[in-house]
Structure formats: structure tokens, C-alpha cells
Symmetry: C3
Subunit: 350 residues, 3 copies
């Protein structure tokens, strides 16, 4: 995490397609937050609520979007500051190179195919017949079951667990503690007790997926639970058995999707939201935080609430919710004047 | 997870107490989902919303409940398709046999009693004085503290953790990443700061319990947190210290039960619901998804909401919630005609 | 977890600054719950709802607060029974002493500084350049990345994971399965797809913090995610990147804080609550269970709901929510008598 050598602001501007306001010869040696950045650091401003902090920062320069008034401070103005931030962080903090090879402290089963450009760290455990692609890193304490297939340039962080038969694509990131392929939660009733339905399917994680720490993705009862290419899953998310998530979806922390939910492309579930089982949710849907989707959702919808309804309608209703006591008093007043009381709480005015 | 040899549909019908509609001589070689099943596969239909998919499936036959019109397709009709599915999946995908013995790569403490028919996988760690029954499997990376007792035919999946002194019964399944026996969340205030109350109790997990991936069950402050026989706990569920769960309960994913909650038998908490501490919840209660139980609940109740109220009442109220803006306009109209305005939002009509 | 030798009730009373009602010569040999305590056990009563159980208990004596009528049963009356409980549990169940030294079964990287009074258990993995203080215990299966710094008298329980560069203070407790320093959830859009923003900051956990089982705390994009001194975090809590939590806060189980939230001192989030990103929450705030904080919150507030509003207002509104169907009927009656119907559900009375 140490920064590499310095680059001038002019050089960074060329790289990022941006424009320097102020001293373009400044040598930037690292990237740092507004409140701790020093005179040779580039800092970052995207959220306008931090404007005052940006003005007061000791940063040598601030990376910002167009049209932001930094009060004369040196700025590197770019069309998309988040994208520029990604680029400069990669530049100043490149990922450490992989240490190719299988640690003698790792446990590797029979008939595994491990590319010689893969890194298997100490204490990793691979079951029989695993396949690991080039550039892939399996962290310490990670456990892969029998017949797990992992593509190229994928990282399985320490203490993650992948059950038997699951498949991970290329450039996948699985964070620590994530569990992929645990049994789906399915039982049949038999004489008043629950009999486990064997869960014999797999989880298929496509390319460019990221799965957060301690997230859990259940294997299919049969067939596959699918996480589509480019989908990003945050920490502590639960994905039930036989869920099919399309490409480029986002599941923010602590989301829970029940079994057999089908989700289209580019759909976003905000934090702590969820969906009941066996429903179909379209493309480009947004589900608000803490919301519960209880029925099929057409593409392009924006839903909030429990049950989730159209976001605008929910917001108007939620604004009135807080005023229910007042509405009730007004209703009582109308009733009281007319002398027709229905409830126990009205009508004593005349 | 590879399927075993084929069986005729007639043979399966006899085994399941079902009836064949169509060609009973068909040899079934595996079980598969509707959309990927081929001509020698048996597929499965329980949810009527998949009826169209069942009609279009290439499956050789479909396992289904009575009275479903599959349009002439070969069917194996059974009284309870879920139970039948459990049976055929066990038949075609039997669990791999246990590999009895203690891996040389495992770490085993002093004075442990491990049945010779138990499997201790590489990298498992057992503290001193653990007892492991016959047919039990302790997975790679699983860590058992001091004095943990595990019964027969139990599976502790890789990277699960069982703290000191906890007890697991027979035929228990603990999925990866689950933590059993972590400290209860209890502090006393002392001069404005929190002083930890030592948590010296245990967790007792009775027979036939299943505990999901990354679920957490806290040990009792003193005494025992109890998970009753046959109770099924899904992924990422939190069970607080001194909770006592009765037999055959179900906690769906991401449920949270606060400390000292007492739950009867056969009670079901749907996903992301919860209960405040120190309350008693009866038998056969259903708590809806995302609901928060805040007081004692009599047996047989069905509750939804935050706070959780009787389900029918909640559903009626939730349906009106979305129409609050309309109700308010109607109230304003009544007020406006009468000229008695209370709020800032009314009464400009006359 | 075995109790040490006995002490008389009089001796305990002196130690705790309490008063004995009844036989002060009773020798107490252990501490036990009301329903399992025997004649030489001290039990505990703080919640008045357990009064009947306390009266019926076989405990030799009951630890209780002032003014509780135990019906003649021997009692040890103390000003603060929770604090007294903490003291007696420490007395009767002292933590086992640390087994100083680095297990030969542990993996330790280059240039680590491990105090000789620290315990590194079998199967623990430490990356290069870690620093471990005296009295600290790193449990089996715990994985520390490169350059992790841990203070004195800290416990990292088995199978916890600490990513590169994170810092833990003194007397910190990290429970099993917790993940500290996983990547923040940050992406930039690039041609319709998400490009990962490298997360190059750290997590700084200050002294006397406790972090629950399977909790996740993301590293900062740059700079540090900070958990302030004395803050207590329960199981399955999510803390996003760049969150700054003040001292002595409490996050109950399954809370989720989005990125860049700033929280003051002594603020409490009840179970399953959350906060959206980039907001500032003051000191001594209480957020109710399942609530969602969506904007800045001044110190001393008590909020509930989604969105979270002032607790009293929420409680009044929530009480009316259940009666919405009745309010609507009353509104319809008023409208019906007047003959001015707006919706489809009114006005047929005259």
C-alpha cells in the first residue's frame, strides 16, 4: 500500500483527460483524503457536501468534477471524478504481483489442475479435481471442495469457502468469509417434521463478479444458482438457491434474495432490502433500502417500502405517515362537530 | 454429485407411492430443472407459476402433484411432490460416504475422544477434551474449542467455528462460516463506560438441527442457549445469548433474535424478521418477513409489520398506506368546504 | 468454565458493596441461571418480569437490585446488579491464562514482531511485517494479512480475518468469522460497466473495542475506517468504508452503516437498523431497531422508523397505522353523508 514515485499534475491530467486549474508542475506523490492530505498529495472531491473540507484541505491538488468552485485551490478537473480516482489509485497503489506457486503448507487433493501462474497460499485447502487458472490467487484458510473450477486472474481471499462443484469465472473477487455453494434452504414436510431436500446443484459465478465479505450464496436444489457477469455483491448479502442474477447487478450490504428469484440486468438492490421467492424482477430496476419486493417487477421500476411500491408513491405516503396523529385529530374534529362518533376516541366536543 | 444408474418410471412410482401418466417404461437417469432437463431426466413441478415451463420442458417426465394438467406430457403424479423430490434426489445423488479417520493434517488437542468412524478433515482444529461421535465429519478449517461435544452423523462444514464447551447433537448440519458459542452481547455500565459481562454459558444444539452458512449463535451469559430438535436455521441468522428455541422451528435467512427470547415449537420467522429481547413467543407462530416482534405472542398467531401486529390487520393497513396522500386530500376537501383548517396544507378552497 | 472455590455471601457483599438479606454465611460455589441454580449457587435477577421465577428458584441466593421483594429468599442486594454480575462472573469464571508462544503449526511471515508474551495458536497465519503485542492471542485459523498491527491483551478468535495494514489497539476482542479490512464497495461507471475503485486505506480499531462474530468492517478507499475506543459491535454488523465511529458507541446485531457515515460518541444503533452514506450522526443518539437513518442527526436524538423520525412521533404514528382501515371508514362516512365521493370506495350511503 506504499505509493510509487511521483508524477506531475500535468502528466496526470493528460492521462485522465482532465484539465489543471493552478500549478500543473506540482509533483503528486500519493492520493489521500481531504483531511489528512499534505502538499504533495492529490485529494478527491465528488460529493458537494464536502466542499468546505476541500477548501480547507492541505492537499497539493484536488481531483474534482467540472463546475466546482474550489476557491482558487489547485484542481485537476475531470469529466468523471470517480473514474479518474479509480485510475489514479491503480497508478499509485498497484496490486502486489502474484507469488506464483503452490505453498508447501497448502493441502491439494488428487487430480487438481493448477496453472503454474496461480498462487495457492499457505493453509489453503483444495479438494480433489479442482481446476485453477493462471493469475488466480487462493488465500490462506480458503477451502475449495471437490471439483471446484476457478478461472483466470481471480482472487479468493483468506477464509472464504467454496463448496463442491461450484464454478468461478475470470477476474472474480471473493472476499474473506464468503460462502459459495452452501445448501439451499429446502425441506419437505413428512409426518410433521422437516426432511431435508438434497441440494445437488451448483453456484455459477460469471466473470468480473465481486462477492463481499461473509456473503452467502446457496447452491441450487438442482441446476445452478447464477451470478451474472459484472454483478457486484456487498458484504453479508444472502442469495438463495436457484436465484438467477443477470449481468451488472448490484446487491448492497445485507440484501437477501429468497430462492428462485430471477433478476434482469443492471438492477440495484439497496442495503438491507430483499425479495420473496419465485418472482421475476426486470432490468434496470432500483429497489430502495430496507424494501421488500413481493411480486414481479417490470423493467425500469423504482420501488421502496414494505411491501415495495412505486418510489414516488411511497415517498408521498411516508411523508404523511409521520402526520397520521394530526390527520386523525382533524378527522375527529370533523366528526365531533357533526356528532357522529364511530371510535372510542372522538366526539366529545359538543 | 454424479447421478447413479437409471430406474424406470414404474419403479420410481412404486417407491414414491405415485402414479405414472404416460410411458412407465421410461428409464430415468437423473433429476434436472425444467429448462435444462433432457429426455432421460425426471424434472419437477410444484409451483403452478412454472406450468408453462413444464409444458415446454424437454424432460422425459415431470414429477408433479395431483390435478396438474401437463398437456399430455409424461408425468409421475405423487401426493406430495416436495417429499417425493427429496426421496428421488437422495436416490440419484446419495451423499458421498464418510472417509473415516483423523487426517494427519488436522490438529487434535489432548484427551479428545474421536470415534473411529468419524472423519476429521485436513486443517480441522480440535481443542482439548472434545468428543466426536461415529459418522460425524469435521470439515477442513473448522475449529472446535476446548471441551466441545458432537454427536453421531453430524456434519460440521469447512471453516465453521464452535467455541469452548458447546454441545451438538446427532444428525446436526453446521454450514461453513457459522459461529456457535461466540460471546453474548452483554455489558454493564461502569463510570460511563461498558464493562464486559463474562459469558460463561454454552450453546446446546439438539438433534436434527441445520444451521446455515455464516449464521451466529451466541453462548448464554450463564446456562445455555438452546436450539431445539429439528429446528432449521438459514444463512446469516443471529441468535442472541440465552435464547431458547423449541423444536421444529424455522428461522429464514437474516433473522435476528435478541437475547433471552423464548420460542415455542414449530414457529416460523420469515426472512429479515426479528424479535426484541426477553419476550415469549408461542407454538405455531408465523412472523412475516422483515417484521419486528416487540411483545409476547400467543401460540398460533400470524404477525407482520414493525411493530408486528396481526397479519390481516397489517395487510389491510399496508394497503391503505399507499393511499395516504389520497385520504389526506379527501380530508382536506371536507375541511375546506367547512372552512376549519388546522394544518398548513388545507382550507384554501373557500 | 469450571467455577473456582467458594466464597461466603458476606465476602461477596463486601466485594460488591452490597447488603445480604438472609444468611450471610452461605458459601457460594458458582453462579447459575434461576431455573438451574442449586442451593450453593448465586443466581441473578435484573428484569422484573422474571420475579416469579426468582421466587421459585432453588438458588442459594439471588443477586438483585434494591427494592425487589423476593419473598423472604436470601438475597445479595447491590446498587447495580449487572455490574455486580460482571464482577462475580469474572471471579468465579476467570479467563484461562494465555499460553505464550508461537505454535509450530502456525504460519508466520517475514519480519514479524511478536511479543514473547503473546499466544499464536496452531493454524493461525500471519503475513509479513505483523506486530503482535504482549498478552495478545491470535486464534487457530485466524488470518492476518501483511503489516497488521495488534496491540496488547487483544484476542482475535479462531477463523477471524484481518486484511493487510489494519491496526487493532489494546484489549480489543474480535470474534470468530469477523472480517476487518475487506474492500469498500466502490465502483466507477465506465462504458456502462463498473470498474473497481481500488481500496487502499485501512481499518483502525481503537482500544477496548469488541467486534462480534461474522461482523464485517470495510477498509477505507483511502485514509481509515475508524472504530472508536470502547465501541461494541455485535454479530453480523456491516460497517462500510470510511465510516468513523466515535467512542463508546453500540451497534447491535445486523446493523448496517453505509460508506462515510460519521457517528459521534455513545450513540446506539439497535438491531437491524442502518444509515445511508455520507451523513453525520451526533453524540448520544439512539436509533431504534430496524430503523433507517437518512439524514444528519443532532446529538441526543432518539429516532425510529423508515425513514427514521423522532421516536415519539413514530410511536404515535405507528399506533395509528394499525387503525388506518377504521380511519378510512370514518372518512368515507363523513364523505357519504355529504355526497362528495372522490375514490371508488365511498359515498353509497345516501
Amino acid at each position: 500500500m506504499t505509493a510509487s514515485e511521483g508524477r506531475s499534475l500535468a502528466e496526470l491530467a493528460r492521462l485522465l483527460g482532465g484539465e489543471v486549474l493552478g500549478d500543473a508542475t506540482l509533483i503528486v506523490t500519493d492520493v489521500a483524503p481531504l483531511d489528512t492530505a499534505g502538499p504533495s498529495d492529490l485529494s478527491f472531491l465528488a460529493n458537494p457536501s464536502y466542499l468546505q473540507r476541500a477548501r480547507e484541505s492541505r492537499a497539493g491538488a484536488v481531483l474534482a468534477g467540472p463546475g466546482i468552485d474550489l476557491g482558487g485551490r489547485t484542481a485537476l478537473v475531470v469529466p468523471d471524478p470517480y473514474l479518474a480516482l479509480a485510475v489514479v489509485l491503480e497508478l499509485y497503489h498497484p496490486s502486489p504481483p502474484i507469488k506464483a506457486g503452490v505453498s508447501r503448507e497448502a493441502v491439494v487433493g488428487f487430480q487438481c489442475h493448477i496453472d503454474e501462474a496461480a498462487e495457492i497460499q499457505p493453509r489453503a485447502v483444495l479438494g480433489d479435481r479442482c481446476r485453477i487458472g493462471a493469475g488466480t490467487k487462493i488465500g490462506s484458510g480458503a477451502v475449495l471442495g471437490t471439483g471446484v473450477t476457478v478461472g483466470r486472474d481471480t482472487t479468493v481471499h483468506p477464509n472464504a469457502t467454496i463448496y463442491d462443484g461450484c464454478v468461478l469465472g475470470d477476474r472474480v473477487i471473493v472476499h474473506s468469509g464468503a460462502v459459495i455453494g452452501s445448501d439451499g434452504f429446502g425441506y419437505a414436510m413428512e409426518k410433521g417434521r422437516r426432511r431435508k431436500i438434497p441440494q445437488v446443484g451448483i453456484v455459477s459465478v460469471e466473470d468480473d463478479v465481486e462477492i463481499g465479505a461473509n456473503a452467502t450464496i446457496d447452491r441450487a436444489t438442482f441446476g445452478a444458482t447464477v451470478i451474472g457477469r459484472g454483478t457486484k455483491i456487498d458484504n453479508l448479502v444472502q442469495v438463495g438457491h436457484n436465484v438467477v442474477l443477470g449481468e451488472d447487478c448490484v446487491l448492497v450490504a445485507q440484501v437477501g434474495l429468497s430462492g428462485s428469484v430471477k433478476v434482469g440486468r443492471r438492477t440495484v438492490f439497496a442495503g438491507q432490502s430483499g425479495a420473496v421467492g419465485h418472482i421475476a424482477i426486470g432490468d434496470d430496476v432500483t429497489v430502495g433500502a430496507k424494501s421488500a419486493v413481493t411480486r414481479d417487477v417490470p423493467s425500469g421500476s423504482f420501488l421502496i417500502g414494505h411491501p415495495a411500491i412505486e418510489a414516488g408513491a411511497w415517498k408521498r405516503a411516508a411523508a404523511i405517515f409521520a402526520r397520521l396523529p394530526e390527520l386523525r385529530r382533524r378527522l375527529m374534529r370533523l366528526e365531533g362537530r357533526r356528532g357522529d362518533d364511530e371510535g372510542q376516541d372522538t366526539g366529545s366536543e359538543d
